[in-house]
């Protein structure tokens, strides 16, 4: 599947380049092309996911190579879906390269040859993985929106950088979109965690085992919960919300990769390589 993987990378690469050109040239045509390229990449990516799923008989997320590819697929898919609904063209500048980087990283990580063990073939697990990955994609986009917010806020505050001021959408829009991403991501994260606990109960006979992965998952969840709570109660908007969404995503990334790679835990097999 290396050739298909390569094709996906090419599509994402050209899409990223297109978004970069769009950033400077601001011609709608570049955005259209980049969007179509990303879509083409996503179609190829979907073919890859389908092929692997059929080959393995389950969701392709049982080693680091697969996990990364699947994460990139979710990211591209969620962005395309969001883009279809909202005018968030500039976020492609964040989503496309991120998907590209993940796919390139995955390209250099050899695929583990071991067949997935029997415990992977559970509906709860599939639901858990799909929901968590979509939540992560949503949080990634929230982080991207947060970064755009900080850039735009800096431009408005300092009155110096007209480059971004002209190109990025309004602060209010970025703030609200980030909130939508986090609200959606948080809901999915919650459901994903619950399905994870149920699955743990089914496989290991207990919901909670003080595992590193579990602890970090809950920490991440708490960060986002705090962010949402403060927003609703104390009106944490704008800059603080944007920074929190970046911090939250950093915690999420650590939970996703860092814990598996640096600490011992029961998700290790997902990131084995």
């Amino acid at each position: 599947m290396a050739s298909l993987h390569f094709i996906i990378i090419l599509f994402y690469l050209f899409s990223s380049a297109g978004y970069a050109i769009f950033l400077f040239a601001q011609k709608e045509i570049f955005h259209q092309i980049s969007y179509r390229l990303l879509m083409a990449g996503f179609v190829a990516h979907t073919a890859w996911v389908g092929y692997e799923a059929v080959r393995l008989g389950t969701i392709p997320a049982h080693n680091l190579h697969h996990t990364l590819c699947f994460a990139a697929w979710c990211l591209a898919g969620v962005y395309l879906l969001v883009k279809y609904r909202f005018r968030l063209n500039m976020l492609g500048l964040f989503a496309a390269p991120l998907a590209l980087v993940i796919m390139i990283a995955a390209f250099f990580i050899p695929e583990a040859t071991a067949q997935p063990s029997q415990i992977f073939k559970s509906l709860w697990l599939v639901v858990h993985i799909v929901i968590i990955f979509i939540a992560e994609a949503s949080m990634a986009l929230a982080c991207g929106t947060g970064i755009l917010y900080l850039i735009q806020e800096h431009a408005v505050k300092t009155k110096s950088n007209r480059f971004f001021l002209k190109r990025l959408p309004s602060l209010e829009f970025l703030d609200r979109t980030g909130y939508v991403f986090i609200a959606a991501g948080f809901t999915l994260l919650t459901i994903g965690l619950i399905t994870g606990f149920i699955y743990a109960q089914l496989v290991w006979g207990r919901f909670w085992s003080w595992n590193n992965k579990e602890i970090w998952s809950v920490i991440t969840w708490l960060i986002y919960a705090a962010l949402l709570h403060e927003r609703l109660v104390a009106g944490w908007r704008g800059r603080r919300a944007a920074i929190m969404s970046i911090i939250g995503f950093a915690a999420l990334l650590f939970t996703f990769l860092g814990v598996n790679l640096l600490m011992e835990g029961h998700h290790d097999e997902f990131t084995r390589w």
């Binding site: 408005v156 007209r162 990025l168 009106g235 704008g238 800059r239």
Partner: protein
């Protein structure tokens, strides 16, 4: 205009010599001050409100030295455009009128005012209308302001043939500049810049509450733009003199408040436009800081167009509060200046073309060229018809032919006799330009060069 082409000089009526011609062809003069030549205090002092304009043009028009007059007064400029019989006396008349009514001595005024004559005045008025002389080149409001000013002067019956034509040319030139160059393409005037910025802070301006502090002209313009961009937004107007706050609020369907209520209203306002004459800050950090929590950090956008400033710039450091003063807004506009520079070359060329065409028309709007034009036209018709007729009459002798040519020449002269006399002296109190213009139109002497 004095040497006549190929005329037979036997009829004195046909050869208007120098003393007979209109001693002063329409002389266009423009006296003005703008943002480049005079500080805002001076411009404010000179500015005419609409009622004053009507009054002023009526008074100036009654001066024996001034045939037509019009006044353009905006926050960036005051321009008095007039057609003078005797330019130097008319200029003095305008200066003394301004001294009487505005209390500005001509000596001071002369250091700031520019006085343009003839084609320089025409060019200036074209450039002003085309927004090439604006503080923000290309800003679209000026054309509307000039049109309003013209309308006011027309209503006061102070304009005539020359100014009417001049202004119509100014409008069409401005239109050409707008459509053929990219000058008006971007966010340009201060108020445009403010609205553009507001759109970078707020997703939509619909339903946003605008608080106007002070009732200056610039603030009014900004509000006009904002309200054009906001559907069902609220407007609050605060002013030191409550009555003018009420008046302005009424105009924009807003609500007047007192200055003391401002801190309270900051809770509900989203965009604050301030333009008071206050020497101290009207809104301070200590007023805004506690409000942000109550607003749940919804963004607050301060537009400070007052000099000295009304809004403490330190407020910009508060999260979700943004302060732009007039310099910042101009910085926003400066961005576009380079591209506009190239476009303005094109625009100046269009203006030059229009000036040349207008001056051509104006120079022809004189007794001599009109009579020459009339005679040329009639002679040409007569000669053509004679040639046609003689061509068909081969049997005529040379003498017969000569007689027919002579007859037509005489007819042309007789036809022209009365019109020439009339155009030279239509009556002592009458404006010659009107009749000249009419004669030129009646005989289509400007060849549809309209």
């Amino acid at each position: 205009m004095t040497n006549l082409p190929d005329g037979n000089g036997d009829d004195p009526l046909m050869l208007p010599d120098i003393p007979d011609r209109n001693p002063d062809p329409p002389h266009i003069v423009l006296i003005g001050i703008n943002h480049k030549t005079a500080p805002v205090e001076m411009r404010e002092k000179l500015a005419f409100c609409p009622d004053e304009t009507a009054n002023a043009v009526a008074i100036l028009r009654n001066s024996p030295d001034i045939d037509e007059v019009m006044i353009i007064s905006t926050c960036n400029r005051v321009e008095v455009l007039f057609i003078a019989k005797e330019p130097s006396r008319a200029v003095l008349k305008v200066f003394s009128y301004l001294e009487e009514t505005r209390g500005i001595s001509p000596d001071i005024l002369k250091t700031m005012a520019y006085v343009y004559h003839g084609d320089a005045a025409v060019r200036h008025i074209f450039r002003v209308s085309a927004s090439l002389d604006s503080m923000m080149i290309g800003e679209p409001q000026i054309l509307g302001q000039v049109k309003e000013a013209f309308k006011a002067s027309v209503n006061a019956k102070s304009t005539g043939v020359v100014i009417n034509r001049l202004m119509h040319k100014a409008f069409s030139t401005a239109k050409r500049v707008r459509s053929e160059t990219g000058i008006g393409g971007h966010a340009v005037s201060i108020s445009y810049a403010a609205v553009e910025l507001a759109k970078k802070i707020f997703d939509s301006l619909d339903g946003k509450t605008v608080l106007l502090v002070g009732a200056g002209e610039m603030a009014e313009l900004a509000v006009e733009h904002l309200t054009r961009n906001t559907a069902a937004g609220n407007l609050l107007v605060a002013n030191r003199t409550f009555a003018s706050a009420v008046a302005l609020a009424e105009r924009f369907h807003g609500q007047a408040i007192r200055l003391e209520e401002i801190p309270e209203k900051l809770k509900i306002a989203d965009i604050i436009i301030s333009s008071t004459g206050s020497l101290d800050f009207v809104i301070t950090v200590s007023q805004v800081q506690p409000i942000m929590r109550q607003r749940k950090n919804r963004p607050l956008f301060f537009i400070d167009i007052a000099v000295p400033r009304d809004i403490d710039p330190a407020i910009n450091k508060i999260a979700n509060a943004y302060v732009y003063d007039i310099d910042d807004l101009q910085g926003v506009i400066h961005e576009n200046i380079e591209t506009r520079q190239a476009e303005s070359v094109k625009a100046e060329r269009i203006v030059d073309e229009s000036v040349i065409k207008f001056m051509e028309w104006l120079e022809n709007l004189d007794v001599v060229p009109t009579i020459i034009g009339l005679r040329k036209k009639l002679t040409a018709i007569a000669e053509m018809e004679v040639a046609k007729t003689l061509h068909a009459l081969d049997h005529l002798s040379a003498d017969d032919r000569q007689a027919i040519v002579k007859m037509t020449d005489a007819m042309v002269k007789k036809f022209l006799h009365d019109p020439t006399l009339f155009l030279k002296n239509p009556g002592s109190h009458r404006n010659k330009s009107v009749y000249l213009n009419f004669a030129r139109k009646l005989f289509n002497l400007d060849n549809g060069n309209d």
